[in-house]
Symmetry: C2
Subunit: 262 residues, 2 copies
Amino acid sequence: MKELLEKPDLKRAKEALEEYLIRDVTVQVNGLCSVNYKGRASSKLDRGERLVIKKQDSALLVHGPENYQPKNWQPEVDSYSVEVDEENEELLLEARRKNPDELVEIRFEEIETVIVTQLVDKSDLKIRGHEVDIHESIEEEPGIVEEGLKVVEREKESPAGFIDVFARDKDENYTVIEVKRNPDYNTVLQLQRYVEEIEEEFSGEIRGILVAPKMTEKILDYLEERGLEFVEVDMEDVIASYEGVDNSQRGLSDFGAQYSED
Amino acid sequence: MKELLEKPDLKRAKEALEEYLIRDVTVQVNGLCSVNYKGRASSKLDRGERLVIKKQDSALLVHGPENYQPKNWQPEVDSYSVEVDEENEELLLEARRKNPDELVEIRFEEIETVIVTQLVDKSDLKIRGHEVDIHESIEEEPGIVEEGLKVVEREKESPAGFIDVFARDKDENYTVIEVKRNPDYNTVLQLQRYVEEIEEEFSGEIRGILVAPKMTEKILDYLEERGLEFVEVDMEDVIASYEGVDNSQRGLSDFGAQYSED
DNA sequence: TGCTTGAGCTCGCGA
DNA sequence: TCGCGAGGTCAAGCA
C-alpha cells in the first residue's frame, strides 16, 4: 500500500489525488459526492455515498452500493484535474476524454477514505474454449479432432495466410485444420483457400477440417459442398485437455502431484 | 465507515468477512489472490494483487489494475463462504450462484486492507437522450424537429400500432413522427405503415419524419425511396430542452431559482 | 420465466 | 484508425 488517508480534509485529499491520479497506481476513494457526465449521452447523479476507483490505465469507475455495473465511468481518461472550491466546501474531480469527447465531473462534499495501492498482476485471464486454447488443446491432444491424427505444424505459413494446424491423419493424408469459435461463411472460404494452397504444395488429395464448438445447418452445407469436413469439439473436452496444458508448464516430475491437488 | 483493517492475518480477515459479506454493507478487499471461475464458461486467474468488492446487493467484483471491466465477477451471489486453510496459509472465499450455476473461488495469500462501508445512495442515474426522453423533448419543444411544428397527439393509436408523435407542420399538413435512437430498415417500414394508416384516416398527403440522433447512408436511401424524411436531432438539443422538463416538475414559482442554481 | 433488444455498451481483431 | 463481431456480455421490457 502506498497511502491510506482517513477522513482527510479536502485540501489534503486534493494533494493526494493530484499526486496519484496521473501515476501508475490504483486509487480508491470513498466519499459523499454528486456526479455529472456529459458526452455520448448525459447523466446526473445526485449526492450519495459512493466508491470511486481510478485504475492504473487511468480508467475511472463510480460505484454505488448496488449492481455489478458502475453508476458512472470512463474507460480511459486523457486528463484529470482536481480543484477545491473553498466557498462551497467541495472537491471537484474532472476526468476528460477526447474521441469521443466526454467529461465526468465528481463533486465530493466529504471524503471518508483515500487508498492508494499499486496492483501487480502479470497473469491474464485465460478463458478456455477460446480459439487459441482450442489450438493448444489440439496440439496437445489431436485425438479431440480425430483418432490417429498427428500434428505436423502449427501456424503454418501459406500464401493464403497462416494455417491453424497442419496434420496427417492415420492414413498419412495431409490435413488442414481451421479452428473457429464462431464459424461463418468466410471461415469456410478461408479453409478452402488453405486446402488449395496445400494441394499445390504437396500435389495430392488434401483434407480440410473445420473445428468448432458449434455449427449452423447452412454453413455446414456450404462446407460440405466444397468437400470439406466439420468436427464439433465439445467445450468440456477442450477444458479437460487444457488442464493438462496448464500443469505441463510446471515440469513433468510434479505433474501427478499438481493434478491430484485439484 | 464501519471497519478498516490493515494487513490483518487471515483469521482476523475471515472473522470480518464472515460478519460483513452477508450484511447490507460494501466490502473492499485489497490483496494477493488467485481466482477460479466455473459456470457458463471457465476461467483461471493466476496470483496477482487485486481489488475485490462485495456490494450491498451481494454483487461481487474482482478488479485487476486495468480496464473498465472487472477481471472476474458475479452479478448477484446466492451464498458466500469463507474458509482459512492454515496449512497452505490461504483464505478461500467462495461465491456461489444458481441459475445459472456458477462458482467464483478467490484464494487470498495476503490481505493488505479490508474496508467496510455502508453506502447510502437514493439518487438514480438519469440518462438523457434515450428514446422516451427524445419524445418528451419533442413534445416540449417541437422546434427541435422542424420550425412551426405543432404536436397534435402523442402515442396516437393506429391500426399499425402506436405513433410516437402526431403533429401538423406550419402549413397545417399532418405529420407522423417516428423517433428511434438506432434506426434500422424495420423502423422505415414501420413509419411507412403509419403514414399509410393516417392517409386513410385523413385522406390527404401525409408527411412522415424519422427523428434520430444518427443515420446510415443505406437506411437514408431506403427512407427517401418511400417519400419519407429524416431529421437528425443533436443530442445537445435534446438535453438542453430536457433541462426545462426536469425543472418544470418542481413547479413554476421556483423555476428560475432552480435553474440559476445549476 | 424466458426471449428479444439496446448499451455512454467494452474489447479485441483485422483491414 | 476504423469497422465488425463477440461477450461468462448485462439489463430492461414484454409476452
